[in-house]
Amino acid sequence: MTHPVSLRAIAAAAALFGGLTVAHAQETIFYSTQLRPIEEATKVREVLLKGIPGKVTYVVDEPPAFAVRMKAETQAGKRTASVVGALHGELQPHVPADLQPVDDVAAKLTDRGIPASLMDLGKLGTGQQQYIPWMQATYVMVANKQALQYLPAGADVNSLTYAQLQQWGKTIADKTGQRRLGFPAGPTGLLPRFFQGYFYPSFTGGVVTTFKSADAEAGWNALKELWAVSNPNSTNYNFMQEPLLSGEVWIAWDHIARVKEALTLQPDQFVAFPAPAGPKGRGYMPVIAGLAIPKDAPNRAGAVAVIEHLTKPQTQLATAAEVGFFPVVKAELPTDLAPGIKALAGAVAATQNAKDALVSLLPVGLGAKGGEFNKVYMDSFQRIVLRNEPVKDVLEAQAKVLDALMKDTGAPCWAPDKPSQGACSVQ
C-alpha cells in the first residue's frame, strides 16, 4: 500500500516540475542594441514580434552596456539572453567567447534569399556563421522639391558628385538668401558616420590608412567649400527630418531612420537619393544589424524561433514600414507601401546598385573606443572647418591620435581599407 502511494506522489511531482520547466523554457529574452527609442521598441514588442510561439521579452540597451553585459555573463557562467540583436561591429568583439555558431539556423533559412555577401559578413571573419542578418539601413540624401529647380545643369540627383552638391547649395544660397544644405552635426547627430562611410571613402578610397593622405587634404578643402554654403545651424541638428519639415533645410544627409518622418508626413514634398560621389567613387555605409545566439543560451529553441520569425519576408516588410529599416531577405516591396517608405527604398536600391558604389563597414574591433574613434574625425572637422586651422597640420596631429588608438585596440583594417595583419595603421 505504501509503495503505490509513493509512486503516485513521485509521478505527480515529476509532472509538476516538468510543467514548470516547460513554462520557464517558453520565455525567450531578446536583448538588443537596436530599435531602442521607446516608439521603435514599442513597435517591436507589439507588431514585429507578434506571432512567435511562447513569450518573447524584448530588452534594449546601449551598445557599451551591451558589450559589458555579454562579457560579464560569460565570466559569471550565467546567461540571461537567448537571442541578441546588434550591429555587425557590435557583435564582432564577442567572437568566439560569447556567441555560439548558428550554421544550423543559416541552413534552415536558405530559402529566405539573404545575399551571400551579407551572410559572409555574418561570419565575422571566422569559418562559421556567427549571426544571421536581421535588417539593414544606410544613409541617404533627402531634398525638398523646391530645391530641384536650383540643380546645376546636367546634374542627376541619383548620381551627384560632391562638386555638384556644392554648386547646388551655392545656387540656393545665392538665389534665396538662406543657406539650406544641412548636416547632422549636433551633439547626437551622426556626422561621424558621414566622415567614415561617405566623405573619406569617396575622396580617398579608405578611412584609416588614408586619413592624412593628399587625397584627404583635397577632400577637406572641398568640405570647407561645402560648409560655406551649409546652414550654420547644422551644429545644432541631430535628426535632419526636423529642419527638413520646418523648411529650414532643403537638402540633407542622414540615416534613413532620421529622415523617414519627413518622407512619411510629406511624401509629395521630398525626394530621396544616394549620397554624392567623390574622385574615388560613391562611398556608402550599409548598416547591418544581425541576430546571434549567445553561448549557453537558456532557450536556444526560442532563439531560433525568433530568428526564423524576424527573417520572414512579411516580418521584414513590416520592419521597413514600421521602423524604417530595410529587408535583408528577398522580398518584393508591395505596391501599397507608404509613398515615403517607397521613396526611401528607391534611394537604398539606387545606392546599393550604383556602378561606382564603394562599401564601407561600420568600424570593427574598436570595442569601447568607438567613441574616441568618432572623436578623431569630429575633432578634425571642428578644427579644419569650424575653426579654420590649416588642413595639413590638423591631419598630421589627428593622425597621431588615430594611429595610437588603432594600436591600443589592435583593430585590423575594415573595408574600404584593405585587410591588414594586426592593427590598422595610418600610412
Binding site: Q178, T235, K369, G371
Partner: protein, 283 residues
C-alpha cells in the same frame, strides 16, 4: 538638572555623517581614484589628456565667463526684487510665488523653453518678422553667432536661477529688525545710505550663502547650455558628459569632474573668507 554628557551631540549627528560618508565620500574617493587611473597604477595621463583636448581651454573660459556674468547680475536682480517684495503690503505672497516659478522647472525644460523662443522658427523670429525687422528666419544659436548664443544662455540662466538667490535673500532680509532702518531714518539717513550701510552689511551672511550656492551651481552649468547651444558653447560639465557618454573614457570624464570640484571648493573658500562676518555684526 544633571549636565548632559558631552558626547551626545556627536552621537546624534553620527547617522547623518555615516549617510553622507556612504553616499558622498565613497563616490568622491572613487571618482578621484578613477581620474588618476590610466593603464597600470597611478598616472596623470587623464589630466594630460583633458588639458590637451581641443575644447578644454574653451570650456574653462566659457564656464568662467558665464559665471562671472550671470552670478553678479543675479545677485543684483535678486536684491532688487527682494527689496521690492519686502516692501509690499498686499499681494506679497502671490508675487513671491510667481517669482519662484522657475525654481520648479528643470534645467533642461528651461533650456528647451528658451530654445522654443529663440530657434529659427521660434517666437522671437516670428515677432521680428511680423514687425518687419527681419527678412526671414535668423539664426541666433549657431556657432557662427557666438555673441548672440552667449547672450541667449545668459538670459536663460538669469530667468531660471535668479529665484534661488531671491529666496535666500528674502529670508535674510526678514531677519533684519525693522527698528534699525527706522532709527536710521529718524537720524536723517537717505534710502541709499540705509541700503548700503545697514541692509547690505546685515545681509552679508545671506549673501555669502547665496553666492556660494549659486557660484557652485554656475560652475556646474550644463543642461541649459546643452539645450540651447549643443556643442557650440563648450562648458566644463558638458565636456565631462561628452567624455563619459560619447567618448566612453571614464578616466578623463572623472578628471573633468575633479577639476569642477576643485574650482567650486576654491570659490567657496574665497567667499567664506571674503564675506566673513564678525559675531557682533550678526542681526
Amino acid at each position: 538638572m544633571p549636565a548632559r554628557p558631552s558626547w551626545i551631540p556627536y552621537a546624534l549627528i553620527a547617522p547623518s555623517v555615516v549617510f553622507l560618508a556612504a553616499l558622498f565620500l565613497v563616490p568622491l574617493v572613487q571618482t578621484i581614484w578613477l581620474s588618476f587611473s590610466a593603464g597600470e597604477g597611478l598616472s596623470l595621463e587623464n589630466y594630460r589628456r583633458m588639458a590637451g583636448d581641443l575644447n578644454f581651454a574653451l570650456a574653462v573660459k566659457n564656464t568662467f565667463l558665464l559665471t562671472l556674468v550671470v552670478v553678479p547680475l543675479q545677485v543684483v536682480l535678486a536684491l532688487g526684487m527682494a527689496t521690492m517684495v519686502t516692501k509690499l503690503d498686499k499681494g506679497r505672497d502671490l508675487v513671491l510665488w510667481v517669482l519662484t516659478i522657475p525654481l520648479g522647472i528643470s534645467d533642461l525644460a528651461a533650456g528647451l523653453a528658451w530654445l522654443a523662443l529663440l530657434q529659427n522658427t521660434g517666437y522671437l523670429n516670428s515677432a521680428l518678422y511680423a514687425l518687419g525687422l527681419i527678412q526671414g528666419p535668423t539664426g541666433w544659436l549657431s556657432q557662427e553667432t557666438p555673441v548672440a548664443l552667449f547672450f541667449a544662455i545668459v538670459l536663460a540662466e538669469l530667468w531660471r536661477a535668479t529665484a534661488i538667490v531671491l529666496v535666500i535673500l528674502i529670508a535674510g532680509l526678514q531677519l533684519i529688525p525693522k527698528e534699525f532702518a527706522e532709527a536710521a531714518e529718524i537720524f536723517g539717513a537717505k534710502p541709499w545710505t540705509r541700503f548700503t550701510r545697514i541692509t547690505l552689511p546685515l545681509l552679508k551672511p545671506s549673501l555669502q550663502s547665496a553666492l556660494i550656492l549659486r557660484t557652485v551651481l554656475a560652475f556646474e552649468v550644463f543642461a541649459v547650455v546643452y539645450a540651447l547651444g549643443g556643442r557650440n558653447f563648450p562648458v566644463l560639465a558638458g565636456e565631462a558628459y561628452v567624455w563619459q557618454n560619447d567618448n566612453q573614457n571614464y578616466g578623463v570624464a572623472a578628471a573633468y569632474a575633479v577639476l569642477i570640484m576643485a574650482i567650486s571648493l576654491a570659490a567657496t573658500a574665497v567667499y567664506l573668507r571674503a564675506l566673513r562676518t564678525r559675531p557682533e555684526q550678526l542681526p
